[in-house]
Every structure is written in structure tokens, then in C-alpha cells.
């Protein structure tokens, strides 16, 4: 039991007659990157809010980091990036982080250092003295992410962290998740998308109309991960350079395909390609089975336009 980050039994939330979450029963291990995927309105945000103690469940029970829902000591070891976040926009980036750090009870000296470290990580060092109302959507998302990591949490909740982000922003979020996993931080990630971020998950659950319909581990496929890249222009030098990251580099019509050891390579490849001045139109790990399942779950609810 002790190694479970999240353990829920039949969590349920009703808003009047509306059932937002019907039955949430799942377990997430410590240090695991867990994807909670499903269409809009499936109950992902409500589920996360119950786990965070923001919303009281109508029925069911749960433990997060070994403590009952809403436990204050447990909250000291959690981080949270809300979905429709709207931060105190009259604050500068640094002030914002300082206030939130103080609420975690971090003392001034270590907090100052932590803030600089995080600003650097989310690439906002030069914007630290600007007011949040002047930030772009992507910058807000990044400062929000920094806010969720102030206390070096054991478990981070990210609600739709990539919605509204451009591809570079998504890569940055993915880099940070990879980084968190490396230092043993568990991540609980809500998403209605299947972008490069979601495929970094160790495990995913598909949720539909308030219930988990399927859970699965995204175990590394034997022999590594298939990578598909679409570039503006390819040339021999680029192809040769790519082979330092993996093997079987080949051109397939307008795509470059290759095999790499694991997905942690992807951000490195992206950075290297950007450094070479290449235009990246697509960079993805092939997860055929996951994608098929994703579409199957999403399909019926997703209506175009």
C-alpha cells in the first residue's frame, strides 16, 4: 500500500442531478507518470479536484500519498496546475512564485534559489519582473507549471497542461515531465489530446462519461521506439546527424523514420534539429495501439466542428 501515490475506491461526484464522475476506481504508483485521458466533459477535472480536496466526493473513498483526501501534510508534497487557471495577474512572475512558495511554507533563502532555478527551467528568467497580465498564454502555462513544482513535490497534478500551447511549448512541458520522472516525481496528467506529451506516460486510463473504461501500461516496445519525423527539408548531413540518437535512420516519402532506445531521446532530437536550423513539422513516437484505442474511446463523443 505504501508505494501507492493514489488509491481510490468508487469515488463519485454528483452536482444536483448531474453525475460528473460515476465511479473512479484506480491506483497510481509512486513516481509514475499517469495519463488520465478522455473527451471533454468526461469528468477528468472533477476527478482531479476530488483528489486535491477541492471538491468533496458524494461517495467513495481515496488515499493520496497515503493520506485521506484533503490532508494538509500530504498537500505539502503535492503540486497542482489547474485547467482554466487565472493567476493573480497584478503580480510579477517572481512575486507570484514567492507568494505561492510562502504558502508552501518554504523559507525565504531556499525559496529565492528555487524560484531562480524554476524560472530557468521554464525559460522565463527574462520575464520574471514582468507582470503576469503581460504574459502570453504559453508563458502563463509555464509559470503555472513552475508554481506547481515550487515544493519539489512527490506528486504533481497537471490538468490539460498542453491545451493552448504551441509545439515548442508542448515540447517544454514534455521535457519537464521527463525531468520529473527522472527525479522520482509522480505525475497525474489530465488530457483530451494525444500529443507527444501524453505518450510519455508510463500508464494511462481512459475515462468516458465519468467512468474508467480501460487502463493500460505503455510499456516500452521491445527494441525501442519508432520515431517519425517530418522536416521542411532533409539532407544527408541531417540524416547522418540523426543517427547519433538511434538506428535505422531512413527516408520514407516525406518522412524520416528511425528507432531510438526510449522516448527521452525525443526532446534531444528536437533540440538538436532546431539547433541545426531544421524546420520540424512533426516529431512523434509511434504508438499505433495507443492511438487506435484513443480514437476508439474518443470517437463517439468527438463531433467535428
Amino acid at each position: 500500500m505504501i508505494d501507492l501515490a493514489i488509491d481510490t475506491r468508487g469515488l463519485r461526484k454528483e452536482y444536483g442531478a448531474k453525475v460528473a464522475v460515476e465511479d473512479l476506481t484506480l491506483t497510481v504508483s509512486r513516481g509514475e507518470v499517469f495519463g488520465f485521458l478522455g473527451p471533454n466533459g468526461a469528468g477528468k477535472t472533477t476527478s482531479m479536484k476530488m483528489l486535491l480536496g477541492l471538491v468533496a466526493p458524494t461517495a467513495g473513498s481515496a488515499r493520496v500519498l497515503g493520506a485521506p483526501l484533503g490532508d494538509r501534510k500530504a498537500r505539502a508534497r503535492m503540486g497542482f496546475l489547474p485547467e482554466h487557471f487565472h493567476f493573480q495577474d497584478w503580480l510579477t512572475g517572481r512575486e507570484f512564485l514567492r507568494f505561492h512558495g510562502r504558502l508552501y511554507g518554504i523559507s525565504a533563502g531556499p525559496l529565492g534559489r528555487r524560484i531562480e532555478e524554476l524560472l530557468k527551467q521554464v525559460d522565463l528568467l527574462d520575464a520574471g519582473e514582468r507582470k503576469l497580465r503581460e504574459y502570453s498564454k504559453g508563458m502563463l502555462q509555464r509559470i503555472g507549471l513552475a508554481q506547481a513544482l515550487l515544493n519539489e513535490p512527490d506528486l504533481v497534478f497537471l490538468d490539460e497542461p498542453t491545451s493552448g500551447l504551441d509545439p515548442l511549448g508542448r515540447l517544454l512541458v514534455r521535457d519537464m515531465i521527463v525531468h520529473m520522472r527522472a527525479r522520482g516525481t509522480g505525475v497525474f496528467l489530465n488530457s483530451h489530446l494525444l500529443s507527444e506529451v501524453e505518450v510519455t506516460c508510463d500508464r494511462v486510463a481512459f475515462v468516458k462519461r465519468g467512468a474508467v473504461v480501460r487502463q493500460m501500461a505503455l510499456a516500452e516496445q521491445g527494441g525501442g521506439v519508432d520515431v517519425e519525423i517530418r522536416l521542411g527539408k532533409t539532407n544527408a548531413a541531417l540524416l547522418a546527424g540523426l543517427s547519433q540518437f538511434g538506428r535505422d535512420v531512413r527516408v520514407d516519402q516525406d518522412r524520416v523514420r528511425m528507432k531510438v532506445k526510449d522516448e527521452a531521446r525525443l526532446p534531444e532530437i528536437a533540440r538538436w534539429l532546431v539547433g541545426q536550423g531544421a524546420a520540424i513539422y512533426h516529431l512523434g513516437a509511434e504508438r499505433k495501439s495507443l492511438e487506435a484505442l484513443f480514437l476508439e474511446v474518443m470517437g463517439e463523443d468527438e463531433r467535428p466542428g
Binding site: 479536484k49 468533496a56 498537500r75 487557471f85 487565472h86 493573480q88 512575486e95 507568494f99 504558502l103
Partner: protein, 282 residues
């Protein structure tokens, strides 16, 4: 405790950052300037008409000055009421609506610390504003006419208590109501107490106990107007406060127990606010 201080600090920061403080300050300074100019004119009229050949009795002179100062403080009282109701009107409901409350509530602090931190910040703002405005009025009459209001400290205390009641109600409403509904409700309650206060005075003047009792009940329900009447009672010499049916006339003197009742009222409103906020889905 650390949470309360941090939230209070954040709230003060917000009041400054959103230019609320600036607007209130500009308004206050404008009011004081107008009061000073007006008072100066009236004062020279009074002294010009009376001095030095035909000095009106000192007591009549004091009554005239007192009446003007009370008029000024009555206006200050309204500014305080507005500050008390409006500055915190948005503080919980707005944060809940925008969702910015979510990153606060999920920190390792208790929800009660958020409510008390915000309350503390607005309480400090209210106190500072009252000292600036009422202090300004008292200073102006002191400098121009060398007039000292009787029992000014007690009077200020009652006004501060009145403001605290309204400010607490405003925070209480914000735990469950939208900003607009909250504003309408709290100002409505203030209006009720206001009418009740007049009913009480008119009833006492006309010897109509029903009206008087109705007013007393309204004052128990919302003790703001009673606190203002108490304040006015203390700050006027006996002759002035007996002039019937002015905003500061006291035919029916509110009981001093009203102070205890108001203090209890504030504590109870805070407890209810904490409870409503604790059990709310955010």
C-alpha cells in the same frame, strides 16, 4: 498563522495592484479638500457675523461648529460604509469564479486561514482609511477653528465597528454568492438597518413604540445604523443631539450593549463564513 499573514499580504498587494487603494485615496483627498474649503467659508461667515462687537454665546458657536463637523463625519461614515462593503465584495467570489482560489486552497494551509487572512487585510485597510478620513476632518476643524470634537475616539471606535460589521458581511456573502448578488445583499442589509434606524428615531419622537421596536429589531438584525447613532450620540454636546430628526439626532439612544452585540455579530459572521467556505466545492 503563516498562512493568514501570507494571504493578508497577498490581499493588500491586490488592493494596491488593482488600483483600488489609489481610487479610494483620490476620492478621500477630494472629499477632504471640499470639506476644508466649505468649512472655511462657513466658519468665516459665522465668525464674521458674530465677532468681535456682538459675540454670540460660546455655546451657540460650539453648536454651529459641531453641526458642521457632524455633517462632515456623516459623509465620512458613508465613505467608510462603501469601503467596507465594496473593497472585499469580490475577494472570495471573484477568486472562486476565476479559479485563482484553486492554487491557494491546494497549498498546505487551512481554508480558514484564507478567510481570516483576507478579513485581516480588509480590516487594516478599513482602519487606515477611517483614521485618514476622520482624522482629516478633525484636523481641518482643529486648524481652521481650533475646535475639538467631544469623545472623538469613542465615536471613531463605533464607526470602525460599524464598518467591520459590513466588511465581515461582505466577506461572508462572497463565500457563496456571486459578486453582484453579494453587493446587492450587503447594501440591502445596510439599507434595511438605515431605514430601521430612522423608524426608531421617528417612532421615539412621535411616541410610537411599534415603529421604535421595529427599528430596534432591524438594528439587532444589522447593527450598523445603531452604531452610527451611538457614535453620533457621543460626539455631540447634549443640546445638539436633542435636535430631533437629523441624521445624527438621538431621540432613542442605542444601548451600549449594542457594542457587545456587534462584536458577537462579527465573530458569528466570521465563523459562518469559514464554515460555508470550508464546505464549498471550488
Amino acid at each position: 498563522m503563516n498562512g493568514i499573514i501570507t494571504i493578508a499580504h497577498l490581499t493588500l498587494h491586490e488592493v494596491r495592484g488593482r488600483r483600488v487603494a489609489l481610487a479610494a485615496l483620490i476620492l478621500g483627498v477630494a472629499f477632504l479638500a471640499i470639506f476644508a474649503i466649505g468649512f472655511n467659508y462657513i466658519y468665516s461667515d459665522v465668525t464674521g457675523a458674530t465677532s468681535p462687537t456682538s459675540p454670540i454665546p460660546r455655546i451657540q458657536y460650539d453648536i454651529a461648529l459641531n453641526f458642521i463637523v457632524m455633517a462632515g463625519l456623516y459623509a465620512v461614515n458613508f465613505l467608510i460604509v462603501m469601503m467596507a462593503v465594496l473593497t472585499p465584495i469580490d475577494t472570495l467570489s471573484g477568486d472562486i469564479r476565476s479559479g485563482s482560489i484553486q492554487t491557494l486552497v491546494t497549498k498546505p494551509i487551512r481554508r480558514v486561514e484564507i478567510v481570516l487572512g483576507k478579513w485581516l487585510a480588509f480590516w487594516v485597510i478599513l482602519g487606515v482609511y477611517l483614521i485618514l478620513m476622520a482624522g482629516g476632518v478633525l484636523l481641518i476643524v482643529r486648524v481652521i477653528a481650533n475646535y475639538t470634537l467631544p469623545n472623538a475616539a469613542q465615536g471613531m471606535f463605533f464607526i470602525f465597528l460599524e464598518g467591520t460589521v459590513l466588511m465581515t458581511l461582505s466577506i461572508l456573502g462572497g463565500t457563496r454568492l456571486s459578486t453582484l448578488a453579494n453587493g446587492v445583499t450587503v447594501l440591502g442589509l445596510f439599507g434595511l438597518a438605515f431605514i430601521g434606524g430612522w423608524l426608531e428615531q421617528i417612532g421615539a419622537y412621535n411616541g410610537n413604540p411599534t415603529a421604535q421596536n421595529f427599528g430596534i429589531v432591524a438594528s439587532l438584525f444589522v447593527p450598523t445604523e445603531a452604531l452610527w447613532r451611538l457614535s453620533a450620540y457621543y460626539m455631540q454636546p447634549p443640546l445638539v443631539r436633542d435636535v430631533p430628526l437629523t441624521p445624527f439626532s438621538i431621540v432613542s439612544v442605542p444601548s451600549v450593549w449594542m457594542v457587545a452585540w456587534a462584536a458577537l455579530y462579527i465573530v458569528a459572521a466570521l465563523l459562518i463564513a469559514v464554515r460555508l467556505f470550508n464546505t464549498r466545492d471550488l
